[in-house]
């Protein structure tokens, strides 16, 4: 009966691996994972927003069963406040994805780009190391908005995310509007901006990856410092750092190289 588990026997000899055997084992498992070498992350803290968000995705998948194909039967946990949780929209992206990747902001923390009358903030993400054969099916830029007591609760703002098209320019022509949102001063939680098209462009043409800019305006069009309305940038708490997440779909069968 192929549908039932076989009886499991425990006959594996437990012994300590010799150093050479351990290295061989590491090499083989790395090969299975499709990695050329053991990653050595420089700054690895699992308390940052991106790893926490990714761990939520992982736990959601694990809770609802390991499926043979894709991330199907995934039930999301929906909340916008606190650490970055998984939204219903992520759920649909997950069902189609073979891989999900979060990217840390490699731009200068809290760098303000002053152009004419604006106080834009810059964010950069390195998409140059995407494994071959993976295509972006969805991508989001996520930034946390804290509650600010000093502002009137009914005050509203426009938050806009732009793609940078030119490295240096004095005008605003070098920006391409990607997504915009109206937020209340009293609002608290994660703001999610769709950057799918831009991410695809960056994967295909890494030279065009000049980052994103975030701009905040009052309803009468005045530029506002994002920090003054609670938008947490690089210097905020670890679990509320802005980050980017991309969902990938494999476009080809991945073959391991012969050793």
């Amino acid at each position: 009966n192929f549908t039932l588990d076989n009886e499991v026997q425990s006959s594996f000899i437990q012994r300590r691996l010799r150093n050479q055997e351990r290295r061989e084992m590491q090499r083989e498992i790395l090969s299975i994972l499709g990695l050329p070498h053991r990653p050595r992350p420089h700054i690895y803290t699992k308390q940052n927003a991106a790893p926490m968000f990714m761990l939520n995705l992982y736990n959601a998948i694990s809770t609802y069963g390991q499926q043979p194909a894709g991330f199907s039967y995934y039930k999301p946990v929906f909340t916008t406040q606190g650490p970055p949780m998984v939204t219903p929209q992520d759920s649909s992206f997950l069902n189609d994805a073979d891989m999900v990747m979060s990217f840390v902001n490699i731009g200068q923390v809290d760098r303000e780009i002053k152009t004419q009358r604006r106080h834009n903030r810059e964010f950069r993400f390195d998409l140059s190391r995407i494994p071959e054969g993976e295509a972006v099916s969805a991508a989001e830029f996520r930034i946390y908005k804290d509650y600010i007591r000093e502002r009137s609760e009914n005050e509203t703002f426009h938050v806009s995310v732009y793609q940078v098209l030119q490295e240096t320019s004095d005008s605003d022509d070098y920006l391409f509007l990607l997504d915009t949102r109206v937020v209340w001063a009293a609002e608290e939680g994660w703001l999610v901006f769709d950057i799918t098209a831009t991410s695809n462009q960056w994967v295909v043409n890494p030279d065009q990856n000049l980052g994103l800019q975030l701009a905040l305006e009052s309803m009468d069009g005045q530029s506002v410092n994002p920090r003054l309305v609670g938008l947490l940038e690089g210097s905020g708490p670890q679990d509320k750092q802005p980050f980017m997440v991309a969902f990938f779909k494999a476009t080809e069968v991945r073959l391991r190289s012969v050793r």
Partner: protein, 142 residues
Amino acid sequence: SAHGHKGRNPNRSKKPKTPQDALKVAEAAAENLSTDPKQGCKKHELYVSFRDLGWQDWIIAPEGYAAYYCQGECAFPLNSYMNATNHAIVQTLVHFINPETVPKPCCAPTQLHGISVLYFDDSSNVILKKYRNMVVRTCGCH
């Protein structure tokens, strides 16, 4: 078709000259099997521990996974004690006819599951990746 052939051929390494000889060898193999059923194709425990490999600094989850492996002999008659494909039974019979050139069926996974792994890359980005066919669910003879 094995009825009426009660003779035994104890020399298993000798190549049978006719199909009847092969069946005699098969009967002998079945007799041997009945004395040592533990040699059959079975799923065995094997836990791959990322922690023991010293990778807990870059693999966030899981700590490891139960991979299992298949081990055991695929001996005649296959369907008496284990999962086996229909063709594996034919493969066994042909092996008896030409034991030096045709191998026995192999004890191997018949069903595999995937796992997800969450890890940091060199740039401290985080990757959640689905790996197919990583965990043995069932073993059988192919």
